[in-house]
């Protein structure tokens, strides 16, 4: 008897396991928020979720559209602003973990969410930095997810710091000792970072994925753990929580836009 799930649901289920109980976590939207909520509803009921917009202790009943969407929660416990979050919370070291979706990533977990191609002659401008550089720079751990992004040898634009040039270079640049990305979850597998060199290595495989297949996506000579973890398939309970909370995350952005546009066109033709 097999369980049927989408690739986003698999990522959410795996990412949720990275959160521990009693943690303070900064989460944005989408896959990350679904993972945070799944963790709170399963093994981490005492974790506290806050967003960059200053909404502290939200209890989201649906996935927020963006980091400042208070309609996702019936109230919250502390209303502050973005300066407060980055200074009194992030800079003082209170953030245990943050999540980040990845556009482009290199072997040391540095990320680009700004430009694809030469910034002076780019192909597309992505969203821009937003809060990513300071969150990934200063949260104790960063949990990275990547569903449409790419691995590159050299970033087109260095937006957010992972381990910079590897080794201790991140801490020498001014970021807190011991902080940094701990895991990257993609559509095919799970990657972690070597404790000394800080280079990314393949640590686990999703169902159906192979090391050979993943090597094709990675432009450098990827290190692979001696024993690879097998990502567990989401349980029926997890799938129920994810789909109730965020059908849009289950289906993904592309399919969501298609479904919503169909609804808009139906409305327009009805009222034409």
């Amino acid at each position: 008897m097999g369980t049927n799930y989408t690739v986003n649901e698999l990522i959410v289920s795996r990412a949720a396991k990275e959160l521990k109980d009693y943690e303070l976590v900064v989460i944005g939207q989408g896959i990350a928020m679904a993972a945070g909520v799944l963790a709170r509803k399963t093994h981490a009921p005492n974790s506290v979720i806050l967003t960059e917009a200053g909404m502290f202790g939200i209890d989201p009943f649906k996935v927020p559209l963006h980091i400042a969407d208070p309609t996702c929660s019936k109230g919250f416990t502390y209303s502050c602003d973005m300066i407060d979050i980055f200074t009194t919370v992030v800079n003082r070291g209170y953030v245990d973990a943050t999540f980040l979706g990845v556009g482009q990533i290199d072997r040391y977990g540095n990320m680009n969410s700004s430009y694809l191609g030469d910034p002076d002659d780019f192909t597309i401008r992505m969203t821009g930095a937003g809060g990513a550089p300071e969150f990934v720079g200063y949260a104790n751990r960063a949990i990275l997810t990547m569903s449409g992004g790419t691995f590159v040898d050299k970033l087109d634009y260095f937006t957010s710091p992972g381990y910079v040039n590897g080794g201790n270079s991140r801490y020498e640049a001014g970021m807190p000792e011991g902080s940094g990305p701990t895991v990257l979850i993609t559509t095919k597998g799970v990657f972690k970072f070597d404790p000394d060199t800080k280079e990314m290595y393949l640590a686990g495989l999703h169902p159906g994925a192979s090391v050979e297949d993943i090597r094709k996506d990675v432009p450098w000579d990827l290190n692979v753990a001696d024993e690879l973890d097998a990502t567990p398939v989401p349980t029926e309970e997890e799938l129920h929580i994810i789909r109730t909370f965020s059908p849009e995350v289950s289906m993904g952005r592309k399919l969501q836009l298609e479904v919503v546009m169909n609804k808009v066109f139906a409305l327009l033709s009805k009222n034409a």
């Binding site: 917009a53 400042a68 208070p70 300066i83 597309i124 808009v264």
Partner: protein, 352 residues
């Protein structure tokens, strides 16, 4: 520093933008993602304002709309929503490629820190130094070296990253309620609002509802912008649509999808701008047009249910030291005895 002390600043969006916005000025959105001042933004577009410089913390559709209208030539930007994958070219992509605008890339924290330093009257402010490795700091846009710098911490001798303060000419802001003098009250996602509106030289404020000053007096903790900063107050129901504002309405995702779908090519985007901005006179007509296109029930589905904040009691005895019998609670005497005491102690000056 100009103060705005008039007790009644109510006017229409058309009057406010016409009177207080000049071509070539800089401005900041004093909301970010939440409660966006879209009615004011659309009026700016209708009036054909040009060569503006925008500070945008994080946006969804307003920057694309201003670019389609040709209103901006400089943009300081931390985040802008992107609909669709690499095959789609957005209005921002096109404006940058065609050199319609120049851009300065910032992070959410550093852009808002520019506003905070400006609001406080400080020349610069420290930020989180570790991001010095990012291209956001290393590469320079149109602001050149007038943005980030490294200075020596005088107490530790360490080098720290700072950002320069900035005071935009005006801010556009939308809130739940305000009085006619412009004391504006906002709740929900506070994000950038306080520092952005205080940084600006003047604030053009729209609100869902104008209320009596008594309402403001009983809830000053909700006031985000004080009246002396505000040059115009515009009552404008649905003034943030399709963004959300607590107590009034949720975001309208299908309407946004329609805009971004239209933006796939310049012709579609132009048609959207005509239909929803140029061919309506104001926000009231925009909402009437919405109802005629999508139906009243579609709009009503976004209306908020009530979840009232428990009242903060601002009460006291509301009495002076003199009680209802005319006796002082602190001195145990009445007014006549008080005056006699002053005289006896030689504290009274006897006039002619």
């Amino acid at each position: 520093m100009q103060k705005f002390m008039e007790p009644d600043k109510r006017m229409t969006a058309k009057e406010a933008i016409g009177q207080f916005v000049n071509d070539g000025e800089s401005f900041v959105f004093a909301n970010c993602l939440y409660s966006m001042p879209l009615a004011l933004t659309h009026e700016l577009i209708r009036q054909g304002k040009k060569n503006l410089m925008a500070f945008q913390q994080g946006g969804i559709e307003e920057i694309d709309q201003l670019l389609l209208a040709g209103a901006l030539d400089r943009l300081a930007l931390a985040y802008n929503f992107r609909a669709g994958g690499p095959r789609i070219t957005t209005p921002l992509d096109r404006a940058l490629k065609e050199k319609q605008i120049v851009v300065e890339e910032l992070t959410n924290h550093t852009l808002l820190s520019m506003m905070k330093a400006g609001a406080m009257g400080y020349p610069f402010i420290p930020v989180l130094s570790g991001i010095r490795v990012s291209d956001v700091v290393k590469r320079r846009g149109f602001m050149g070296d007038q943005r980030f710098a490294e200075v020596t911490d005088p107490f530790t001798g360490e080098s720290i990253l700072v950002i320069k303060g900035y005071n935009p000419d005006f801010a556009l802001m939308h809130v739940q309620r305000a009085d006619k003098a412009g004391n504006g009250q906002l709740w929900g996602a506070m994000i950038n609002s306080k520092w952005a509106c205080l940084a600006a030289e003047k604030v053009i404020l729209s609100c869902e509802k104008i209320v009596d000053t008594d309402v403001i007096m009983s809830s000053p903790h909700l006031t985000i912008v004080p009246a002396h900063k505000v040059c115009a107050v515009v009552e404008c129901p649905w003034g943030a649509h399709p963004s959300e504002i607590l107590g009034h309405y949720d975001y309208d995702f299908p309407f946004r999808a329609l805009f971004f779908g239209s933006c796939a090519n310049p012709e579609g985007a132009g048609a959207w701008m005509d239909e929803w901005i140029y061919n309506v006179a104001d926000r009231r007509e925009y909402i009437e047009h919405y109802i005629s296109r999508f139906g009243q029930d579609t709009l009503d589905a976004f209306k908020a249910k009530s979840f009232k904040s428990v009242e903060a009691d601002y009460g006291s005895t509301f009495s002076t030291d003199w009680n209802e019998n005319g006796y002082s609670r602190n001195m145990g005497m009445n007014m006549d005895e008080f005056v006699a005491m002053l005289d006896e102690k030689g504290a009274l000056i006897h006039g002619n």
